[in-house]
Symmetry: C2
Subunit: 563 residues, 2 copies
């Protein structure tokens, strides 16, 4: 796709997945890392360099074979890259200046603060007991003591809980250049992948929630399970942060959501990131392809960074090496048995806590994705999750439409609608829920309906017909009301009670006793999004037309007297 | 994922994509084919064999390195594979007996006929003018003259149009063993990928439509653009056909849909197939991963062969080498610029009509996918397609809800609903469409609404309010009716005219003049499938609750007299 050769410093899993994306575009990649590293295993093209991505000579060798250099890890030799960039023959992305700035976490923070990006307060700390105590005096306890350089997966961090911990902290981060950070009491860790194009435009992927275990990212939930307004705020913060750096490519931006709703930037990785793995199967374009496109100046069209299907949810589960060799394969095997779970392994030899691979779970709702996750990890599956798992329309018996009625005396009317749903192959449930006799049951039913995967509720009621309106008041789903004709007033009482809802709470009312139309309306609602049902409605309408045409034929042929 | 090593006979693009799938599962693959073949380029693991997949010695070399052998092309040496299978050390899938049976197209057809699979009539043909004329006498003209062996991409086929063509036909298929096939007058070519597991269970992917150009597959539409009943029939035929063969793996089944609705099996490929490439981006599990799983006995869970998201459509476009070298990259570049188009290139050098790669287009509807296709191929985009392209909710101003009314005198009532849609960020349109004064305009509006991407219609009308019901009669979309109060009868006339629809044609009726609820109902319908809107409805309901609570606070604090 592009005749330029792309050199990658680092051949771990991030490099491997970059190579996978590049292959599909016929982009030639050359890798600098140890022999047989994960990225090299899947790249038999010529000219890889064996060596360290910090070794000036090896980097020069790599540069000699490439048009563009990029990184899969930020702990590279930024000086050498800068010299290469200056020579002007080989482009380097992200820019060496950005890499250097980000390598030193204290400088990174100061840079962000200078540009008005919300982040935790920081202070330089002298590597002495006095220095650590001074930081404690400034920020209070606990505070975070961090190494400025070479910190990765939390290995350069120490939580100083009280003044008594300063000695242990100093020992743990012995001989490193330190700084302190005010402790952020967060409720969620968020992350956003941001792509910066050659001309400096930034585009962000959805906001995700990362869950760490022993300082290693274990799970990622996309979108993050926080209110929508935070999702947007986090995207903006991440975009604004990445705008302050130079050079093209993808950036992983980690953030904290505090309990008062503030979002603080934690740190930035100038490369593909574990929190963006879900994009491989969840988004229009994966973070790896986006990175390759960005550094080569290939197109990044509208919506490339959105979920492939609006409204779907994704969970990424890291596969970490188990205590026993290959123990982690048990989890992989369960993932292979789980529909909608995609396994990505990295070709590494097994070692406890090593990132061996990951699983992406894609589902119609987060509830469904969580049920699949529990199945894979072997955790017990809560009943609500188990019910949600089969939510996908047309492929399981998980109901899409709920039929409820105030009394079993309404059943003869409502059963007609149920039969329509059955004949259209729509999964549904039928229940008696009375507004006046089982108000709490009604509340529970209405409140849980959307989360259970229902797409519409049909409620039938007679007399002072409160059920449809009350249910509509407690759900976000469309509610269809069927006025059931009672023994007096011809059903007009039910009709008016159902249709004359106050502004704010709609009920889709159909004709008196006409559960047929209620069912057809529910199928039309499904059909607006599921072509299978739309096609069936079209066929049904066509059939009605044919029947009338046959009747008129018989009438016209035989005459009206004999009809 | 599996400690077995998988040997692949053939290293073309099908082998390459098999290897790509195997890498993700840490399954070691070894390839037999020429040096630097597409599959070898992405596999730097040890032990590939350079040579031909028909050479007994090379096959033996490959077998010595593997636990399981499979193929990416059926024109291999079946005898050698059979001998290897008999030794019992290395498993071979699909079974050599199956490969041999399928290699000879006449035998393949006879086998299918014997098992009651619908296929075109065939007869053996002697390679002489008399032989060809005898076939013409039996089947009439035109008939298909085919080579029994080594036919690929139509290269062994000749359409004998009249008796005058027999000489040309004989010359074209000179020196080959021939058979004739009755000409199938098809309207569509269909194909289904079928996976056969080690224990003989078969699972089929959706039925697709293939479009050939110069005997080479050019485009694949998934699902096929034919009525649903044919989709199911084709899947069953394909499954039944694959059940008759032995050995595990994926099979591509090509079929003809005739103008009388008959489906005939055309031919079977015992391997991944061009018509299944769309599964890489469109389905839960790709045909390549499914093949790897099947031949190694790894799990094939429920729904692995369905579309990732129910209701989505996919188009596969082959990228064929252009007349000028690399001319085809123009098409690739436009694909990179098209949202939802995924490029897969094979690492081959350019040559006219060579399969260089393919593009998978995934979209919410076939109309939208076709618009993207036209953009990539550079064909003019019909206006209806252009409108459909931005169909995805929330990402464009393509309307999702249509508001129509019989007269501009209804506007004050209906505008309230429009404002609700606006405040929720729902794209919508507002039009005057009168049932009685513009009946043809109404017909056009109702008939085209679903194809234009609308998801619901809100129709307001007063008096003899026919508009909502008439529109409902001519669309498959949910129609919401707003009875508008006239100067007499208090709107009860409108209400009854709208709500009392006959069985078969539902209108979701709301309270008199209550366009607010009509709009909220439309948003609930969108929200049943688009979480963004569901969340907004939840927030709206929550807000209503808060307002009432504030009022009661004021009432309780200040007393009812002062309120």
């Amino acid at each position: 796709m592009d005749s330029k050769t792309l050199g990658i410093l680092g051949g771990g899993q991030l490099g491997r997945m970059m190579v996978e994306a590049a292959h599909r575009l016929n982009v030639k990649t050359v890798i600098l890392d140890g022999e047989n590293s994960p990225a090299k295993q899947i790249n038999a093209l010529d000219g890889h360099v064996n060596g360290s991505f910090t070794d000036p000579e090896a980097i020069a060798q790599l540069a000699a074979k490439c048009d563009v250099l990029t990184i899969e890890i930020e702990h590279v030799n930024a000086n050498v890259l800068e010299a290469i960039e200056k020579q002007g023959k080989v482009a380097v992305h992200p820019s060496p200046a950005t890499i250097r700035l980000i390598q030193d976490k204290y400088n990174q923070k100061m840079h962000l603060i200078k540009h008005g990006i919300a982040t935790a307060e920081v202070v330089q700390v002298e590597s002495s007991l006095e220095g650590l105590k001074a930081a404690g005096a400034k920020f209070g306890y606990p505070y975070m003591l961090k190494s400025r350089l070479d910190a990765y997966d939390g290995r350069g961090n120490f939580v100083v809980d009280t003044e008594n911990d300063v000695e242990a902290a100093l020992q743990f981060l012995n001989n490193r250049t330190l700084y302190a950070e005010k402790f952020a009491r967060f409720t969620h860790e968020l992350a956003v992948m941001v792509v910066r194009s050659l001309d400096g435009e930034v585009h962000s992927y959805p906001t995700v929630e990362t869950v760490q275990k022993n300082n290693i990212c274990e799970r990622v939930f996309a979108p993050a399970r926080v209110p929508d307004s935070f999702l947007t705020k986090a995207q903006l913060l991440a975009e604004n942060a990445v705008k302050t750096f130079s050079g093209a490519g993808i950036f992983g931006v980690e953030m904290f959501l505090l309990d008062d709703g503030t979002i603080l930037l934690n740190e930035i990785a100038p490369r593909p990131h574990n929190s963006g793995h879900y994009t491989q199967d969840g988004c229009v374009t994966s973070q790896f392809e986006a990175h390759v496109r960005a550094v080569l100046g290939l197109p990044l069209p509208k919506n490339f960074a959105t979920m492939s299907t609006p409204g779907t949810s994704a969970i990424m589960l890291n596969i970490l090496g188990g205590e026993k060799p290959n123990q982690e394969l048990e989890e992989c095997k369960r993932a292979l048995e789980t529909p909608g779970a995609i396994v990505h392994l990295y070709g590494k030899s097994t070692r406890p806590n090593r990132k061996m691979g990951h699983v992406n779970i894609i589902a119609g709702s987060m509830l469904e994705a969580e049920a699949k996750l529990a199945r894979i990890t072997g955790e017990p599956i809560p009943a609500a999750l188990a019910a949600a798992e089969g939510e996908v329309a047309g492929t399981s018996q998980q109901p899409l439409v709920g039929i409820i009625m105030g009394s079993d005396s309404d059943l003869p009317v409502m059963a007609v609608g149920a039969n329509i749903l059955k004949s259209f192959g729509v999964p549904f449930e039928v229940k008696i829920v009375s507004a006046h006799r089982t108000p709490h049951r009604m509340t529970k039913y209405a409140t849980e309906a959307a989360a259970r995967g229902l797409k519409a509720i049909i409620a039938g009621a007679g007399g002072a017909a409160h059920l449809p309106g009350m249910v509509a008041a407690m759900t976000s789903l469309p509610v269809i009301g069927v006025p059931v004709k009672g023994s007096v007033l011809d059903g007009v009482d039910s009709l008016h009670s159902i249709v004359q809802m106050p502004r704010g709470v709609p009920v889709a009312t159909v004709a008196i006793n006409n559960a047929t139309n209620a069912a057809l309306l529910a199928i039309r609602i499904l059909g607006a999004f599921v072509p299978e049902y739309r096609n069936k409605i079209d066929a049904y309408n066509c059939n009605m037309e044919q029947e009338v045409l046959k009747k008129t034929e018989r009438l016209e042929a035989g005459g009206y007297e004999k009809y």
